[in-house]
């Protein structure tokens, strides 16, 4: 008897439960899809598919009366690598294309453009951007400003006039010199994958036991609530770390992201985030107790805030103040910040320690609430 005291029995039960749950995870093809296939698809799409860098801005250039001056202007636009220039002699030719979204910006050199330049008057250049894509409109306006400035400088140089006074602005970009959006999108998509495995999958797995009523049957056995929870969480935790490994390998070898921090710190930091995500999933399943409801809640509470409030697509500092406060309780915010730092900058304690502390605090609070609510639900 003494060899199977209460403590030894408990460990044995936990081990058996973990084994049972792991088998269930491994037998279900959807776990494989979520743990291995989805990370690869997402990373490839984020890495190669989407880009905010607007390489080919489609410009419609209207030259109402072609001269040497307008040819000069055209050359400076064509020399800019960001533009794909089309030419017409009537501005109306481009209005329908702008409405159809087939060009991004119309640049109009009016009929008196060359005469005004010759007379020494100010020659206007009219730009019409498509506001229904504000990001591209902003980039297009910025690049056009640059092309226009270099046209002015070259023209002044060629005519032997003193160029208009100017100050050179020399940008130096740290951590990501080529300014590739993939370098900050990849860490963001890792956060989404971990959130999905941690919160969504856990919520579904536990809600299924509630929905089918098997949780009562299970808890009528010597298995306690803590043992049940550990049995459910461990396989998903391992699945999360596997997905993380797939992501890291893809990030390093497919996208050539640098790994300036240490792998040990990366895994430790990911583990803390997974605890939070697993806790959220568990809490949702206890409240929802049905799989459809659980999935809706997981989307609302865990997944969508991870996209919008983690700072990887949208700048938190630019949001209205109440939303900035709200973002403080979104775990993905701390995780993404830490991941971007670990990949691109290094083991920077002033970022990683506050982030880890915030995530640990969230873990503690969520598990406390979960255990209280699970107990009352069963009694």
């Amino acid at each position: 008897m003494s060899a199977f005291g209460p403590k030894a029995g408990r460990l044995r039960r936990i081990r058996a439960l973990i084994w049972k749950e792991s088998l269930q995870v491994m037998r279900d093809p959807s776990s494989f899809v979520v743990g291995f296939v989805l990370p690869v698809i997402l990373l490839i799409l984020y890495g190669y598919g989407i880009s905010f860098d607007a390489a080919d801005i489609r410009v419609g250039l209207v030259i109402e009366s072609p001269t040497a001056e307008t040819a000069w202007f055209l050359a400076s636009l064509s020399n800019t690598p960001f533009f794909d220039v089309r030419i017409a002699h009537d501005r109306r030719a481009f209005y329908d294309l702008l409405a159809a979204g087939q060009i991004n910006v119309v640049v109009d050199l009016p009929g008196d453009f060359s005469q005004r330049l010759a007379r020494g008057d100010t020659a206007g250049v009219e730009i019409i951007t498509d506001g229904s894509d504000p990001n591209t409109a902003n980039l297009a306006a910025g690049y056009l400003q640059g092309a226009w400035q270099s046209w002015l400088d070259q023209r002044a140089l060629a005519l032997g006039v003193r160029p208009p006074p100017n100050i050179d602005v020399i940008p130096r970009v740290w951590f990501n010199p080529e300014l590739e959006s993939r370098r900050f999108l990849v860490p963001g998509s890792i956060a989404l994958i971990e959130m999905m495995i941690g919160a969504l999958l856990t919520a579904l797995v536990v809600a299924r036991e509630w929905e089918r009523g098997t949780i009562e049957a299970l808890l009528a056995t010597p298995v306690g609530i803590v043992e049940f929870v550990i049995g459910k969480l461990v396989p998903n935790f391992v699945l999360g770390l596997c997905a993380m490994t797939v992501c890291v390998l893809a990030a390093l070898f497919l996208f050539h992201l640098p790994m300036r921090g240490s792998l040990l710190v990366l895994y430790a930091f990911t583990s803390i985030f997974l605890f939070v995500a697993l806790g959220i999933g568990l809490l949702i399943s206890t409240v929802a107790r049905a799989q459809f409801l659980a999935s809706q809640m997981a989307m609302l509470v865990a997944f969508m805030p991870g996209i919008f409030f983690s700072g990887f697509l949208f700048e938190i500092a630019s949001m209205p103040l109440p939303l900035q406060w709200f973002s403080l309780i979104v775990p993905a915010r701390y995780y993404v910040q830490g991941l971007q730092t670990l990949f691109l900058a290094g083991n920077i304690g002033s970022v990683l320690i506050p982030c880890s502390l915030a995530l640990s605090l969230m873990t503690a609070v969520i598990f406390l609430i979960t255990f209280r609510s699970t107990k009352t639900r069963l009694d």
């Binding site: 979520v34 100010t122 208009p164 999935s295 900058a345």
Partner: protein, 369 residues
């Protein structure tokens, strides 16, 4: 096909979908909360960010330049650093994403009529935001240079007159809020449809449905009904909120918008049914929906424009119903899209709907035999 059978099946499906009060709330509340939160959150504009200044010049001109930055609305405050190390530490710990560095000879060169330079130290971890901030800074610096030259300069040889159509302030919310009409309805509807079939399959009642006199087409119509009702209902609610709460103008035709929404929903329901015809339980259905929808949202032009995607991904964007519906939604809200352009976007969605539903129906029938 028998209309009484279909009618009673639709009635049963609607009851099943709306009977549970918690599920009812889950269908209504989340999309509205998400619409309001995300419409305000989803901005790629950069405003009220702190920036750093490292001024190594003791002249008047650099002080004037910095005081000009202090007045710019894009920046919340200017943090001054004494050395490059200090500035570097501030960027490392993400206190600021940009530091403007002014060299020692800045004022002297400017006074002599030479071209001085300033450096922008940018945090590449946030490359998009850093690029936008550096755009603002360049504009302010070049305006400062022109004003510094001031009166002695002649009239400038040229100037840019910039206008923006359809959304004059290039406001992100004006574009993002209508776009959420497409993505939020897609999320809810595809989940309702695929989870409802998967639940029946998990519990075992789907087999009973298949051996009943109902034909696969009739089952599909019955299963599609709640999705269509919920999708159209959400569409109306979101449109009302976007127009009356956010004050975003609606320039197109309401009839065209909702007719296109119906076609879009058919294609989304088709995708949901197709997923559910492949899975055995609700967990697999949910994961199937996520694996399908996340790439669909990414490759739709929702966040980053389709034209930036590489050629090999363009065909995916073209078969993706969300790509087409986003163009219609933005077109109808913002730029009174002509009807022939809408039609060009409607038929690809219809094809997706027909193909996915036929495939689902075939898979259901195969299971029956």
């Amino acid at each position: 096909m028998s209309w009484t059978r279909i009618y009673s099946l639709i009635l049963k499906e609607l009851l099943a979908a709306f009977r549970d009060p918690r599920a009812r709330i889950a269908l209504i509340a989340p999309p509205i909360v998400q619409l309001i939160l995300f419409a305000y959150a989803a901005t790629m504009d950069v405003t009220h960010v702190p920036i750093g200044a490292l001024n190594q010049d003791w002249g008047l001109a650099s002080t004037q330049l910095i005081s000009r930055l202090e007045r710019a609305t894009a920046f919340s405050d200017i943090r001054h650093y004494q050395s490059l190390e200090e500035a570097r530490a501030a960027i490392d710990s993400q206190q600021v994403m940009v530091v403007l560095q002014i060299d020692q000879d800045f004022s002297r060169k400017l006074a002599r009529g030479e071209t001085p330079s300033v450096q922008l130290l940018l945090d590449g971890r946030k490359s998009n935001s850093a690029q936008i901030v550096s755009g603002y800074l360049s504009l302010i610096v070049s305006q400062f240079a022109q004003d510094y030259a001031g009166a002695q300069a002649l009239a400038p040889p040229s100037e840019i007159v910039a206008r923006t159509w359809y959304n004059p302030n290039r406001d992100f919310r004006t574009v993002m809020a209508p776009s959420l009409l497409a993505t939020l309805t897609m999320l809810t509807v595809s989940m309702i449809v695929s989870m409802s079939v998967a639940r029946e399959r998990e519990v075992g009642t789907f087999e009973q449905l298949l051996v009943s006199p109902l034909q696969p087409v009739e089952i599909i119509i019955g299963k599609a009904a709640p999705g269509m009702v919920v999708g159209l209902g959400q569409g109306v609610a979101i449109t009302l909120i976007v127009v009356f709460l956010f004050g975003i103008p609606f320039t197109g035709s309401v009839v065209v918008l909702f007719a296109s929404l119906a076609v879009f929903l058919v294609s989304v329901i088709g995708i949901g049914l197709f997923i559910s015809s492949l899975v055995a339980n609700q967990q697999q259905a949910m994961m199937g929906v996520m694996v399908t929808l996340m790439p669909m949202i990414m490759l739709s032009g929702f966040a980053a424009p389709v034209q930036n995607m590489p050629d090999w991904l363009q065909p995916f964007a073209m078969v993706n119903p969300l790509t087409h519906f986003l163009v219609i939604v933005r077109g109808e809200f913002l730029r009174d899209m002509p009807f022939d352009l809408v039609l060009q976007r409607v038929w690809p969605m219809a094809i997706t709907g027909v193909v996915t539903m036929s495939a689902a129906s075939w898979l259901f029938r195969r299971r029956m035999q």
